[in-house]
Assembly symmetry: C2
Homo-oligomer: 367 residues x 2
DNA sequence: ATGAAAGCGCTAACAC
DNA sequence: GTGTTAGCGCTTTCAT
């Protein structure tokens, strides 16, 4: 397809021929370093040195080349460059989205934005892979790592399988996890799940609520575990009996397990007067069931939800929430990865960011 | 740094030497096609043919190589490959996020997810660039196009500058726009903005509202223009006087211009009884101002907003909204780009997707 | 300070 | 059917 050199002097097979290569620049495609070199009347090697701020180039020459480069808007071919320098200039980000929800919630989008912006500052590109299901994670993983397309990786650790994590670890591939992995200990960033949950629960307790239950996600996730722990701690401090109801996250189809879980909470046992909703995804379900049962919020049941959203402000009642510093989390993840890639391991292996409580109406504090 | 070949026979400079190259495989890095070739006792060329399903390989050999490849988990180096095939196997996506809002709204995240998933099906990677401001778009643009890192591009056309768009056009670079550009005519996908706006307005009119105003974004955007047009059409059909109030989108800081715009709408002129909010971003402001003025929704003013969100269901009143098929839009954008990249231009230059009205409480239809 | 040339890992044209 | 080799566009010794 691409025209290789036309027979120069009939010498194509004899090994003695000094591999003439193309002597003159005559192509159709984009500019190459040769073109620039020819026009600047220097060798490609010199242009390369200029472009890479390497020493050994006269300032007069350097200036001339630089001008030309600017004028021609020449940019070295990334593939050719990475082939020789053995770096791609990209990082990978793998994020899960179970159902259409995760991407619609603010968590991943904001995280991603933070990472992308930060990466851009360092002249790194971001290769994004989304994974629909946990099985999907594997293919996302290989598609992004296959062929050494990235120099480092940010992964949502909770959804990542042990196998892949171990693989990365063994390879010594630079990566950081967002959220703790149930399987491996490695560099990661996370929010203070236990602390935030404790904060939320204490807040409800401080408002005089006593029968405070927790609606939690699937037990397998470390974040869920930590939030349950924080809730438990607050309850036990107050000498109260914890009551945790787990449920699955919203799936792509089928009846939301959250609804059933809330039903169970409301129906069984003695009446609640407080509810800590352990994940933003679960809040709508909790509100819906409460409304259906004629349970007033915050009058009958005071409610705090983990993970904030701008729109909670416009719910009725406006939701009191534990706000996570998602943007900071993304920046921290990138910074950690960047350090790893630069061969300077960050000081701390786990960077845990604090949460804060945003008090609105659903907890009854303003009532 | 990387160990080049150790002097084989002292012949390093004489041009007669047949460029011996490395004969034996002995390195530290990842597997190369040579390694596989050696182990399979075939030539690299043959391995390459197997990997690319090229003809001219015996089925016995093919099987042996394939087994080995699988067993070794060998993947060809992407950079080396793209250098010779002149394709990167990646597409770029540039999305704007003014303030932290855009990414928090469902539009871009869902669009991005759709594109990414679709790309994965075609074994294409997605290089993501976010642009904070309109000036930022330019650097995002160059960073992603610089060095030919992608084979095609999806861009949010409204925020893209004329200069960049023209550049792409002139280069003949495959790209599709999401939303129409004010500057150039090119392949693009969009929702039926005018139709959706008309739908919303007619709905309000059909409910008996007569003094229906529209709260719209900045005039410069084609989508805003189209929505205004749809609104106007519906009003004029009914023989009513249109009343449009423009405002800027939410900025990173400063008082939201939306608030002021709504104030103006409510204060000036004769009392409204209907409001068409031309963009999801503006809905919270409209509700806030209405509440502050003691304007009941839908009792006093019936409201419909363009662009739906799962959480609107939990607003009070639940928001009636024009729902855009964002996921489909993303898929359509990718499909169009893929066709372009395959050299088979899509049949239609503009793919316009229909919207539908999601009736909830704010329009008063259920009252 | 500059240029020549080797070679990164792969594919494609051609020879056998 | 299989091996050989040139060369993609760049960086990087090494010689000059």
């Amino acid at each position: 397809m691409s025209p290789r050199r036309a027979g120069t002097t009939g010498s194509r097979k004899k090994k003695a021929a000094p591999r003439p290569r193309r002597a003159t620049a005559r192509h159709g495609g984009p500019l190459t370093i040769r073109d620039v070199a020819v026009m600047a009347a220097v060798s490609p090697g010199t242009v390369s040195k200029v472009l890479n701020d390497a020493p050994g180039v006269g300032s007069e020459t350097r200036g001339r080349v630089l001008d030309l480069v600017r004028q021609l808007d020449y940019h070295p071919d990334a593939a050719a460059r990475s082939l020789v320098v053995r770096r791609t200039g990209s990082i990978g980000v793998i994020i899960p989205h179970t159902g259409s929800y995760s991407m619609a919630s603010a968590y991943w989008p904001v995280l991603l934005t933070a990472i992308t912006d930060r990466a851009a500052e360092r002249d790194l590109n971001v290769l994004l892979s989304t994974a629909r299901s946990e099985e999907d994670v594997d293919s996302a993983y290989r598609s992004i790592l296959r062929g050494r397309r990235v120099d480092g990786l940010v992964v949502g650790a909770e959804q990542f399988g042990q196998k892949q994590l171990m693989e990365l670890l063994v390879k010594g591939f630079p990566f950081v996890m967002v959220g703790k992995s149930p399987f491996v200990s490695h560099w990661c960033v996370d929010v203070d799940n236990a602390g935030g949950a404790c904060l939320a629960t204490r807040h409800l307790l401080g408002l005089g609520r006593r029968r405070v239950a927790m609606l939690a996600g699937p037990e397998a996730y470390p974040s869920v575990h930590d939030r349950v722990e924080g809730y438990r701690r607050a309850m036990e401090e107050a000498g109260l009996e914890p009551r945790v109801q787990h449920c699955g996250y919203q799936q792509a189809s089928g009846a939301p397990p959250a609804l059933l879980a809330v039903e169970q909470l409301l129906e069984s046992g003695p009446g609640l007067d407080g509810l800590f909703v352990g994940a933003g995804d679960l809040a709508p379900a909790a509100l819906a069931v409460a409304a259906r049962h004629g349970v007033g919020i915050p009058k009958d049941v005071a409610l705090v939800v983990f993970d904030d959203h701008p729109y909670y402000d416009r719910f009725t009642p406006a939701l009191t929430a534990v706000s996570q510093p998602i943007h900071d989390l993304g920046q921290a993840a990138f910074d950690m990865l960047f350090a790893l890639m630069s061969g300077e391991p960050p000081e701390v292996r786990e960077r845990i960011l604090p949460t804060r409580l945003v008090v609105r109406d659903s907890c009854g504090a303003r009532a």
